[in-house]
């Protein structure tokens, strides 16, 4: 598996979720928000001070801290 993570995307990039590397509770929480493997995500922007990130998942906009996005493996589209 490549080391590509959600945190490395640039604003405007789209990718597909491949897996979440985290303890079960954390991973489950993200999946409940729709970040299940195979789902398409897009990075919209970074916050003015660089963190957190704004994502679009299944039509919803979310913010996620960079440290959290680093644990979501993706494949760029």
């Amino acid at each position: 598996m490549t080391a590509m993570t959600l945190a490395l995307l640039a604003p405007g990039d789209r990718a597909v979720v491949r897996g979440i590397q985290a303890e079960e509770d954390f991973a489950r929480r993200l999946m409940e928000l729709g970040l299940t493997p195979g789902t398409e995500v897009a990075l919209v922007r970074r916050a003015p001070f660089g963190d957190p990130l704004e994502l679009v998942v299944r039509g919803s906009h979310f913010t996620l801290r960079r440290s959290e996005a680093e644990r979501i493996h993706v494949e760029e589209l």
């Binding site: 509770d25 954390f26 489950r28 929480r29 993200l30 999946m31 409940e32 928000l33 729709g34 299940t36 493997p37 789902t39 919209v44 922007r45 916050a47 003015p48 001070f49 660089g50 963190d51 957190p52 704004e54 998942v57 299944r58 039509g59 919803s60 906009h61 979310f62 913010t63 996620l64 801290r65 959290e68």
Partner: protein
Amino acid sequence: MSKSSERIAIVGSPNSGKSSLFNRLTGLRQKVANYPGVTVEKKVGQCRLPSGRDLVLVDLPGTYSLSPRSPDEAIVRDVLEGRGAAGETADRVVAVVDATNLERQLYLALQILATGRPAILVLNLIDAAEAQGISIDVAQMERLLGVPVLAVSAKTGRGIDRLRVALDAPHANGHRRALEEALDPARGYRNVEEIVRRVVRRTPGRSGARAGLDRVLTHRVLGPVLFVLFMGAVFQSIYAWATPAMDALAAGFGALAGAVQAALPAGPLRSLLVDGVIAGAGTVAAFLPQLAILFFFIALMEDTGYMARAAFIMDRVMGAVGLPGRAFLPLLSSFACAIPGIMATRTIENRNDRLATIMIAPLMTCSARLPVYALLIGAFIPDRHVLGILSLRGLTLLSLYLFGILVALAVAWVLKRTLLRGPRPLYVMELPPYRVPSWRSVLLTIKNRCLLFLQKAGTVIVAVSLVLWFLASYPTSKPGTPPGEALRHSFAGQLGRAIEPVIRPLGFDWKMGVGLISSVAAREVMISTMATVYSLDGSGDPSTSLRRTLPRVRDERTGLPSYTPLVAISLMVFFALACQCMSTVAVARRETNS
């Protein structure tokens, strides 16, 4: 509310518009309380049905899933499973989803239906969905899900009458489905995708205002600038708009006290009513204008969707001391008064973050400290300039503000690493679409918050006022004793002497101790108490005469001046740090349920 009424729970995720649906169905017939033992809010209201029957509606906390991890989710799950969480039960469920975002919102709805509770599915925000070119086949959805489905707009009222009819109809029993499957994210979302594919048709519609507004409001430079301007406006309004209302309330209570004074003969009863009850009620009422204004802005920010953007912008900055972006507004408000600030921490979801914010809010320099600072600075800090332009007095005041902030940040930093340590909560926050606020729900929020404050904190504040009145009035002195002499012999005076050994190292004598005890009622009360202690005549502004008197006061034993600039600074630092304001303590206690 009668026990026999049918109870209906409203369940949905945080941005489904379920609270506006609740407001629409109940109108003013609602009240807010806390679930016992947890800081989760419980809203209960009544809804009149076409048949004339009344329903009890319970607005359960917003949640993204029924797998219980947070206290909010556990309550929702328990109510739906029929376990009756914290005294709450529901005969039926109204599952609310945002029709503009079915794919994410149906995930929770399918879990709700799978519990087997009799349910109605409400597609809220249907007009927004249509405007975006989303059309939903409601009949097909009913066939697939096996429950009544209604498209409504809580904001405009569209479809609400049909929802009332549906609530009036006898309900079929639901049947428990594969809840485990619905709770599994991968399988749950696969089912959702299948349903969405069969009921949703998309045609090009106008996209919302989101993209354009976000480009400006969360812009790298403009975003923070606009945020600071907006916060400045909020803060300024709390100060500026609240003052006339607070003055009017004070005048009203003053007139009431005057009327009672005139109507009753002098004696313990008159003293109790005027100096105890009316003074205490006046203290409570004085907070209402600031509370109402702050909650007006908070409701506005939440309703429009700007609150989430503000948190997005500030998260990195507040993160430096381990607090979330949402802690910013409560802390800012605390510069006006810690009471509304602490009540505003309800917008922080994580418990530890919320507790840390409540603990440091009283360290922000509130407006009640200002009269005390002004008096002491005016009396003891020389009116000189340093570096030619900076006023020493202004610098002292500024230092006190900065001192409070720095101590607060340090305390937050330490708390988050010790007592309130814990896994940093997963920070996922939805950035909801921008919406035009509903004035109805903004006003309801203000009303509910003010009522909650009166019920929970107001009663405590009045009770403590009565205790303080008693301490200052008993044991009584002979009629004709000067007020200062009487106060010395009262319990408050004795208490001041009793704590003198403790406060002596700070440079305070027992008279200041009496002042400190009285400042428990409200910090600025210290000034009028000091005026009494030093037996000033009641004429003129106590602050002005105290400013002249204090430097001349001599210690009874040593004959040296009681107040030196150092003692004044010590007293101000004490005011900056000590959480002696009873109202703050009362609210913090209620808000933390501790």
